[in-house]
Symmetry: C2
Subunit: 248 residues, 2 copies
């Protein structure tokens, strides 16, 4: 199974959302992470121009959104439902942080439909909705200020979902460190140059060379960088030799 | 050092932000995760009522925000600067996903100031700004739609920062599974009740009891749940005994 397909088995269900702008912002957040199945239970206003505006081009998600009258309809066919909960409830299902909850969801989403259920902006899930979830998810946050907005919560969960689906590569080229023998030739060149220009004492170069080794070890030099540094050393040697010739 | 103090060593630097609403939303995102040091380089409009409105009560962050004219001023004293970059650049520093970049930042933030640098909404960091960062951070995202808004990016990085600081506990009460001997007494009670009511054959109860064991093993029963189930079994036995008496 393609990992992007796994994300197609994940429904984001928003219950009784008050502000259409939040629906649009949630769609945008989903799309950035490769989620596409948005389900709305009795949204106050939808479709709405504010939703379109806040979706910033994720209008395809809004157009394909399923609008439902009931929770039953929204969750039909799902085998695992994780509900977002900011409140501490007297009796509740297992409460997990996002990363752990998403690991469970992803495992099921390989073959079946799962849902992330979000309550209203003001009061979150009702007790009846929370009771329908197998797990509740609580985002770790500042105990004195836990006011994440709806789209921000959708963004965080969608991000964790993308990472759990194995799509967390940020596409950056990996560093290509040069082989050790190239690095050694640089240090030889550096040492001889520093002796030539009189910065190093030919008899005791060890300590300073060790410090330079420490610096460049941390940088893990690439071949091109070695070429640049050796180019500078070569020009320094030539400049010094010429200067020496002139002053003689 | 207190872990919340570590977050005080992390500056969120927003460069040349166009929309004051985004500054407010970024402040809100920071505060939910316990970050507080906001630095603004030449914001287009600030302070601004839109920033206050979008901060949803995180106005303390806005009031304490430092407004600077230059990048030098904003980064003064920082020992590590991580810049957000959505673009692939020809030549660039090491590019890391958020989790890895934040691990580096947190390590330094134990003792010194570090910065997360965000560019403008439209075009991100300039090449000059990117060159001033020791690492670039790229959020993994849908290759066909990577349009995270500024506050969403601040939210994700602040969340990863909170987790890396060891403040990722979501405050949920841990499950308290009952000791095995209590679970065994439940199974004995269950088996005898199911035999009494005629659901189980006294001679071959094994297979079904194994299936019930499997179910309840997965649930990891707590003591109170065992009490409830045994209460139901006791009432079932009594009901069956009475019914049996009446029908005789």
């Amino acid at each position: 199974m393609d990992r992007a397909d796994l994300l197609n088995n994940v429904r984001v269900v928003l219950s009784h959302t008050s502000h259409p702008g939040n629906i649009g912002a949630a769609a945008r957040a989903m799309k950035t992470m490769g989620l596409s199945r948005l389900v709305l239970i009795n949204p106050k206003q939808f479709p709405d121009p504010q939703a379109d505006a806040m979706s910033a081009g994720a209008t395809d998600i809004l157009e394909q959104a399923q609008v439902c009258a009931t929770l039953d309809e929204a969750l039909q066919g799902c085998v695992l439902v994780a509900g977002m909960s900011a409140r501490v409830r007297d009796i509740s299902q297992e409460v997990l942080p996002p990363r752990e909850a998403v690991a469970l969801l992803t495992e099921q989403a390989m073959t079946q439909s799962v849902a992330l259920l979000f309550g209203t902006e003001m009061s979150g899930l009702t007790n009846e909705e929370a009771a329908r979830c197998q797990v509740l998810v609580r985002i770790p946050c500042n105990p004195d200020y836990s006011s994440l907005n709806l789209a921000a919560a959708v963004q965080l969960l969608s991000y964790e979902m993308r990472l759990a689906a194995g799509l967390g590569d940020c596409g950056a080229p990996a560093l290509q460190p040069a082989p050790v023998e190239q690095v050694e030739r640089l240090f030889e060149h550096m040492e001889s140059t520093l002796v030539e220009i009189g910065f190093l004492n030919h008899k005791h170069p060890t300590k300073l060379m060790h410090k330079l080794r420490r610096l460049y070890a941390r940088a893990r030099l690439e071949q091109e960088e070695i070429n640049i540094l050796r180019g500078i050393l070569t020009v320094t040697q030539e400049y010094h030799a010429n200067k020496h010739k002139v002053t003689k």
